[in-house]
Amino acid sequence: MFSDVNPLLRTLKTEAGEEHHLRKMIWVERIFTDKHNYEQGVFAVLPQLRHSVMRTIARAERLSLLKMFSIHIVDVVCSIIAALLAVRILELFENGGLPGSAGVWEIAQQSVLIALAVFGLNVLAASLHAQKIERETLVVFRVQTTLARWLNTFVLNMSRQAKARFPTGDIVNVAQTDARHVAEFFAHAAVDFPVLFVSVTLIVAVMWTIVGSAAFVALGILLLQIPVSLFFSWLGQKLHGELMRRSDRRLSLVTEWVQAARLMRYFGWTQHMARDIRIAAQREFRQDLKMKAHYSTSFGLSTSWWMLVALGVFAGFLWFHLDKSASQVFAAIWLSSILGQQLNPLPWFVRIFSEAQVGSRRLEAIFIAPIQAEEFASRGFSVPDDVAAQLNAAHEIRNISFDLRDVWVEWPGVATPALQGVSCRFPAAHLSAIVGPVGAGKSLLLQTLMGEITPTRGEVLLECDAVDADGHSTRLIFPIHCERGLAALRRVQTFVPQEAFVAAASVRENVPLTYLNDGEFPPDFDAQIVRALERAQLSTDVQTLPDGLKTELGERGVNLSGGQKQRLSLARAIYAKRPLVVLDDPLSAVDTETEDKLVGELFGGCWRSSTTIIWATHRLAHLSLARHIVVLDGGQLVEQGDWQSLSQPGTRLSSILSSLKQNAHQKNSSPGDESA
């Protein structure tokens, strides 16, 4: 009877709703602990998902679907029996009960019992129906959240190249809309459709026993409803499409009008455009009127169809020369109503099914993309077990250096390889710089170093000192383009991208990239975060934020400027205190003064002599700090060495430096850098 909501209903009558009120609904927790078939995680079911998402879900939900089907059938059967019993009352009186005769009161007694039975059956049917709907809700929730989670995990493991084919908005849309369509199909249509067939057959059979052949006339008229409602639904979709077009037109006019409000006033065009908007609104309104007329007709027809069915039965009486009695007539009416209820949602089922098909295909299109592990498999690198064991047992990993051996990166269908035979070493615990003109392949080299791109030829080896609990240090060397290697790399690296990543969370969650969820940060957490922000030249900015460290960032919170975002990225890297830092041109949006300070703090300060820094850059002001410089051009390594040798005249580096200096001069005479 769902009475466990009573306390909540009482509370919320007078108080505003808050989360802790909801937490008292203990039955929800049962959902989380319920065993179902989704525990294995996306990679276990990936082959099935790639084949057909619908079938995967169907297999996982088959037990629930079966239960829902049974409950629904029992519910329909109860309603039929209740209708029949009600008819029986009328029959009893018709056949035996003349008022005033002896047997009338006995019949009356029987009828009362029957009436009570009807009441009980209907209430039972209602309760069953409600239980079934609740299960439907659970299915929708489970399927949609699971698909979203699977998609999320999958995307986080997707090959970088494959992911580039999908705009972020599309992936989010698939998770929101297409997953929901698939879920709704299984919740509603998948069960109700077979139930529809079974119940129509049952009811018509029952009708036949009561009204004889007239039942077939009823069936005929009932079936006629199918093409009629399909026609109306097709018409409705067309009208709706046109409505959406007109509505979009009006909205794009309004958006432009609002965005260019100032400009409009400068030129005195405001009224003119306002008139265009009014015209567009009028056109949309007229289309909407058509839709209202369509909807009213279609809905009016479908809710009145049971009357036509009943009339069909009556016509059947005439045609087959049957006697009509009140009980038969009302049986016809009752059963027609139930039939009508069953068939009404038919167009909706059809629509849900087609939407689910489309959604399933879009999901499969994403799942088919390769994941990183599959990319690695094509090259066959591996970390031997003993090395892996030592890595796992290590207390600390230090002095990371890279060894790139003849690394080639080729894109399929592109003639020139993006990286050609790059061989170099990045020394441990020192600053290395990667320079070169735009498009030389600097970012690509970094991506390869981080395991995001797998080289078509050649290998990338990582060397490090693994220090165990006793302080013994072992030098290990292993390739990174394999699962274990990548996992080890990710434990020791930090990355500052060109376009900063800001999570929609507070500052104190963004810096360590950790979500609080329901927990608490340990007491000295904030102190470390503050120190990292100071070093990144961001602490004054954070102090001016409305809630300081607790300020929410991102779309629903405060929007940081480009320079502030980059400094946040740096703070993240500083906070993580790891032995490897990879920087992809992180100072592009920062002005020269701040840049000097940052370079001093980082390269000269907290990262000096303990951290391996690999820095791809355009800003050449501080190259002299680098121990090793690598010059790329057109995907090839044209020069490498230290500052002394490369800054001599005649080297590639010096020619790049001198041409950039000229441009910088010109730029400084008409300044215009970042403004907060």
Partner: protein, 616 residues
């Protein structure tokens, strides 16, 4: 400018009855349409039960009873069925059903169309208000917030709310009909009507507040799920570089679980409601049935009418459920109406700022007669102080200056010094605190707004173009001939390019924000636009801010040679632009700190830039 954006006003959850009645009463012609629509709704809801009633009479006809027995209304109907052949009876019933369908479709269309029309006129009213609102309104309210009034909120007003109102009145009418019919046929059974209604109201009043609150929570808890999902997709590289994939997956699960509480509880509450409503209507049906049994046993009623009465409770619970659902839905969608109504009373710009100002600066009002086109005009700032709006600090501070007619004036200064703000003042987009602006001796602030603005044409900082044809972007109001348009394009050296585009010429389609043209080309089109306006005063705001070297040269040339004979004011970063001016102004923090010939001003400025004491 973070403090500038005003907070979105939060509508509270509960809207009183007075709000709903105001909504209904505000429709045009509600006075006479209202009763008509009510009548239609009441009539329309008769049909389903009317059919059953007619059938009950058809079944009995004059079977067990004399034709004249029973209520007076029924007598002619019974007689009709008794006299007429079975086929004709059936046809009569068929006509009844068809009429029912048509009437129902008609009523629903008329009611929803009427209410939607009210929404539509509100839309037009808001458009009208927004076209006269001060520009600072658009600075305070993000585009998304304003546009939402026109998208989701308007859709609610046009489609959803009329449907819900229709449903509510319809359901109430249906329930009333059922009770009426029972009262008519079986007065004693009607004793159960009142308790049934009371129980229903009680159930409903328990349900609605809680449902509203939980729905609100569900909405709040759902959004972060997609925010985190979007982030992990967008920030895939950073997240996995730091080895934080697990973290983000856990977060997603955590947020989904939080949402589960709201979503699933909401559903459970609806189940609670539906089961209890069903019980109430079944109880009602039971009582009616018991009465019917008694009537049948005592011979009060015939089997036909008995069957009819018993069938009344079919669908009663469905109607009750629908009614409650409609009430909940209308609660949450009425917020849209509130939001749109907020835009009904907006401030109006362009109020003539006269009175005390006029007295303090002794300027004549502008003569009412139309002035001949002035080529070049003298502008004077009389100790002007102004701010963007109430509560914000002053952005122009006692600006006193004279710009001679037909001169070229350059303005330089640091970012945020107040250069563009001068232009805003000329366009009357600031609130004047004290002082005045005059053009050729007559006060600008006292003129009618559109007249005042027509004195200026501007080349703004960002070359914004609209989706549409080239013609549309140059001359939206269609005031100029094609010949004039081509002349303007010639003057900015763009005619070649567009002639070469093929036949399209002036009908060349520009996509949203001018994406199919380079930044330089867009800037030149803006020049052409300003040229066409042929206003006596030309303003240019950093015309070469974001262009490549080639276009830069074209623009510099345009700046030097176009607009001969007009007063030209240029805000510039490029010192070459300003070198050829007659007068150079230096702004700093809203004040005019220096003015004079380029030779005297620029050297000092340059040295200031290099020493770092004056950074632009």
């Amino acid at each position: 400018m973070t403090g500038f954006v005003a907070r979105e006003s939060k509508a509270t959850g509960r809207l009183g009855m007075s709000f709903y009645s105001r909504y209904l009463l505000s429709m045009r012609s509600i006075a006479w349409m209202g009763p008509v629509l009510l009548f239609l709704i009441v009539a329309e809801n008769f049909f389903a039960n009317g059919f059953r009633w007619l059938v009950s009479l058809w079944v009995e006809a004059c079977g067990n009873h004399a034709c004249t027995k029973g209520p007076w209304i029924e007598v002619p109907v019974r007689e009709f069925f008794a006299e007429v052949s079975p086929q004709r009876s059936l046809f009569a019933l068929l006509w009844f059903v068809l009429f029912a369908v048509v009437f129902r479709a008609f009523t629903w269309t008329v009611v929803t169309a009427f209410l939607a029309r009210g929404g539509r006129s509100l839309h037009d009213e808001v458009v009208h208000n927004l076209s006269h609102v001060p520009v600072t309104f658009y600075d305070e309210n993000p585009t998304g917030r304003i546009v939402r009034r026109f998208s989701g909120d308007y859709a609610n007003l046009l489609v959803e709310i009329p449907n819900y109102v229709n449903d509510i009145f319809g359901c109430i009418a249906e329930i009333v009909w059922i009770f009426l019919l029972v009262a008519f046929q079986a007065p004693l059974a009607c004793a159960s009507c009142l308790p049934c209604a009371l129980v229903y109201l009680r159930i409903q009043s328990d349900f609605r507040p809680a449902s509203r609150e939980v729905q609100r929570l569900a909405k709040i808890l759902e959004t972060p799920i997609w925010a985190v999902f979007t982030e992990s997709v967008a920030g895939q590289q950073t997240i996995r570089a730091y080895g934080r994939s697990d973290e983000f997956q856990k977060r997603l699960q955590y947020l989904q679980n939080r949402y589960a509480y709201a979503f699933l509880t909401q559903n459970r509450m609806t189940r609670w409601l539906n089961v209890r409503l069903k019980m109430t209507s079944e109880m009602f049906g039971l009582i009616v049935t018991l009465f019917v049994i008694w009537s049948l046993a005592t011979g009060r009623l015939g089997a036909g009418v008995a069957g009819f009465l018993m069938s009344l409770s079919i669908g009663l619970d469905g109607t009750m459920q629908w009614l409650t659902r409609s009430f909940s839905m209308i609660d949450s969608t009425m917020v849209s109406l509130e939001r749109i109504l907020e835009y009904r009373n907006l401030p109006r710009e362009g109020l003539r700022q006269g009175g005390s100002l006029q007295q303090s600066t002794h300027l004549p009002e502008s003569p009412e007669t139309a002035q001949p086109a002035i080529s070049g005009a003298e502008i004077r700032f009389h100790d002007l102080s102004a701010r963007y709006r109430e509560g914000l600090p002053v952005v122009l501070n006692n600006v006193q200056l004279t710009i001679p007619a037909r001169s070229r004036v350059g303005i330089i200064g640091r970012t945020g010094a107040g250069k563009s703000t001068l232009f805003q003042a000329l366009y009357r987009m600031l609130e004047v605190e004290s002082g005045n602006i005059s053009v050729n001796g007559s006060s600008l602030l006292l003129k009618e707004l559109s007249e005042a603005r027509s004195l200026f044409s501007i080349v703004p900082q960002e070359p914004h173009l609209f989706a549409g044809t080239l013609r549309h972007n140059l001359d939206r109001l269609g005031k100029h001939s094609e010949k004039r348009l081509w002349e303007a394009l010639e003057a900015v050296r763009l005619a070649e390019h567009f002639r070469a585009q093929g036949e399209a010429g002036l009908d060349f389609e520009i996509i949203e924000r001018g994406g199919n043209l380079s930044v330089g080309q867009r800037q030149l089109i803006c020049f052409a636009r300003a040229l066409l306006m042929d206003a006596p005063i030309v303003l240019m705001d950093e015309p070469t801010a974001s262009v490549d070297l080639e276009t830069d040269a074209a623009i510099q040339m345009a700046v030097k040679h176009l607009f001969q004979g007009k007063t030209v004011i240029v805000i510039a970063h490029r010192l070459e632009t300003v070198q050829d001016c007659d007068l150079v102004l230096v702004m700093s923090q809203g004040r005019l700190v220096a003015q004079g010939a380029p030779d005297s001003i620029l050297p000092a400025w340059m040295s200031g830039v290099e020493s770092g004491s004056m950074l632009a």
